[in-house]
């Protein structure tokens, strides 16, 4: 079933993490393999070798567990969407500095588990850098916590980094501790001839976002909190900039993660002897 469409009747929806633990323990006892599927918006990113007896969705678990605005961290359940998180963060002056394909429809658990690249990676850092830890369930139904709720921790192995991007083959995500940052006070768009950019790049402050404008040979630059003045730059209408950004994001084809030769051994270490997520033992 890997990579193909998943029918609604094949999906079990967990009410909460405890429910998911019970479901996985049951599947483990029966020798069945399970794959997480969220809202099924990233099926194309499911590992091609994955074979699931059952699909488990955490999409109904979409609560904000806590938000520490002073510390700029929060924990959300895996089913939280980017859209919903933005609503929660309104008025705090904070953001999760990601811009990923499918962020309107998918879950954050799915976004991070499928290693969806962020368009803001070069200015704000890759997606994985925003996850400080979280809650997980291993293939045998064992619940674990990884990382910490502080912005810096080197206690034990960074299990979070290993599990993020594993496309559901090592563990099911139940919650994410996220690092937030101050949201831009204002955004400005500019256009520049693409041919000029390599030369200009070192003379201008780094943009927050850069992408090709509509088939015009121009690049669209987004700056946060900064009005840039340069002869080669032309200010661009904000609404049109946002429209083009959304269109670009939705049409974006992102590269699939490269499978690691260490996956089998790592999956076995996560839950020895268990039918691994989507992988028959």
């Amino acid at each position: 079933m890997g990579g193909s469409k998943v029918a609604e009747q094949d999906i079990v929806h967990a009410k909460d993490a405890e429910d998911a633990v019970a479901l996985l323990q049951g599947a483990h006892a029966e020798g069945k393999s399970v794959m997480p599927c969220g809202k099924r918006s990233r099926q194309a990113r499911v590992a091609p070798t994955a074979r699931a007896d059952r699909w488990l969705s955490m999409a109904d678990c979409d609560r904000l567990l806590w938000l520490d605005a002073e510390d700029q961290t929060c924990e959300v359940q895996a089913g939280m969407s980017m859209l919903r998180l933005r609503e929660h963060l309104q008025g705090t002056g904070l953001e999760l500095a990601l811009m990923c394909r499918g962020e309107q429809s998918g879950t954050l658990g799915g976004l991070f588990l499928s290693a969806e690249p962020s368009l803001l990676a070069s200015s704000c850092g890759p997606s994985r850098d925003f996850v400080l830890g979280g809650g997980w369930i291993l293939a045998d139904g064992t619940p674990i916590r990884s990382g910490a709720r502080v912005v810096k921790s080197v206690a034990g192995y960074d299990v979070t980094r290993l599990l993020l991007g594993s496309r559901g083959q090592l563990a099911i995500n139940t919650s994410l501790i996220l690092r937030l940052r101050p949201a831009p006070r204002e955004l400005h768009y500019y256009v520049v001839k693409a041919a000029l950019w390599p030369e200009l790049r070192d003379c201008l402050p780094p943009p927050r976002l850069l992408f090709p404008a509509d088939e015009s040979g121009y690049l669209l630059l987004q700056y946060a909190n900064l009005e840039v003045k340069h002869n080669a730059l032309q200010a661009f209408d904000f609404r049109e900039g946002e429209r083009q950004r959304c269109a670009y994001l939705e049409a974006l084809t992102t590269q699939l993660p490269t499978p690691s030769p260490w996956l089998e051994a790592t999956a076995e270490a996560c839950a020895p002897g268990a039918p691994h997520f989507g992988r028959q033992p």
Binding site: K152, D158, V159, L162
Partner: protein
Amino acid sequence: MSKTSWKAQLREIVGMDYLLDSPAALLAYESDALTLFRCKPAAVLLPADTAEVAKCVAVLHAAKIPFAARGAGTGLSGGALVAEGGVVIAMTRMKRIHAIDAEQRIAIVDPGVVNLDLSRAAEKFGLRYAPDPASQSVSTLGGNMAENAGGPMCFLHGTTANHVLAVDVVLPDGRRETWGDVQNQAQDLDLRGFLCGSEGTVAIAVRLYLKLVPVPEKVVTLMAAFHSIGEACSAVSAIVAAGLRPVALEVMDQATIQAVENSVYRTGLPTDAGAVLVIEVEGPSATVEHDLPQIEALLAGFELLRLERAETPEQRLAVWKGRKGAGGALGRLAPDSYVMDGVVPRSKLTEIMEYVAEVQVESGLPVANLFHAGDGNIHPHFSYDGRDPKQAAAVEKAGAKILRRCLKLGGSISGEHGIGLEKQHLLAEQFGANEIALMERLRRVFNPEDLMNPGRGLPMGKGCAEAFHRHGRIQSG
């Protein structure tokens, strides 16, 4: 395989001069910067390149000899000490900067390159390497990666893990692989990220592909002197809560200020201040000019003893001379130092500092505080005399109490020094049995025979840390 034959094979690989086994030569490798733990290795290897590292590891693996990679030995958790009869692989001869790709903003370096040397080399391209641990003028990039080192600039730029794009590794059996991707393209398992902070127990980094960042257009450093450390911590909270993003927020308490001013690092800090807060703002001029007045306005809400603005490189250097030299200045106060490393949520800084003061009174030992306040990463610095068993016991007990309080406040037992030998007994208080068992199984995936840096990072084997302990393990209450 006899002892002689493996040594002979290693000598053949690295050359006569680069296998050390005389007692005098080994002395320098019996501890890192945390002198609580000591163990003399059987031999030290100084390989010249990746091929030599791989060959040496293969020989050691075949002979079942434990080994540990080591950089400059500046680690503060006993992470690079090898067990009795083991071999240290010192990476300090591998110090070539192979390439700096200014366009891609990537540096390709050997693991033995000193952190600061990379920034100096990148400067002519208008670039620098952001992570800046206090040891940056000595510590190596390979060692920084093994411990996921941080530093003052990490508040804005993140730790080492955020700057390593890819890494060539030698596995515990001598095989070589590349983990990560310089284009930062996703791989389904982020082994590169997993390796950062794994304390040399997963693989040895033999070549690093590092992200460089542009030298900022403008940098301004503020030095604000407060009546108390509590006020300095409150100012940090106010700055962060206002959504401002300085590059560094560093606090030094009065004991630290006085140690600095009584040392060669003196820089004119106010010795009557309860604490100073060093704030650095960098970026495009427009950003700095926007943020700086806001920070100064927030600081004006406190009863400051002094506020100085350092704008020229010389002025800024003077401020940082005090901060960066503080560790050295404190090291002069007693025969031994114990630099703690714990993390709390930023909002709990005042609380943890009050607790550190309580513990100081209980322990009867001098404590100084200098810390990365922006990250909530504290470093209480105990000065003691390790020759006195009572003082040694008191310092360890005090350290464990502070770390337990960090956990109680929602923090972590290590922000940047790692677990090493020092904190193994506390890891099980941060994570449960399931988490520790998972980490242990993951270690075995890469290091199944536990020959690579055995007994480090995870609480493995009773008595492991005790075997290295200079004073005999003292039960921390």
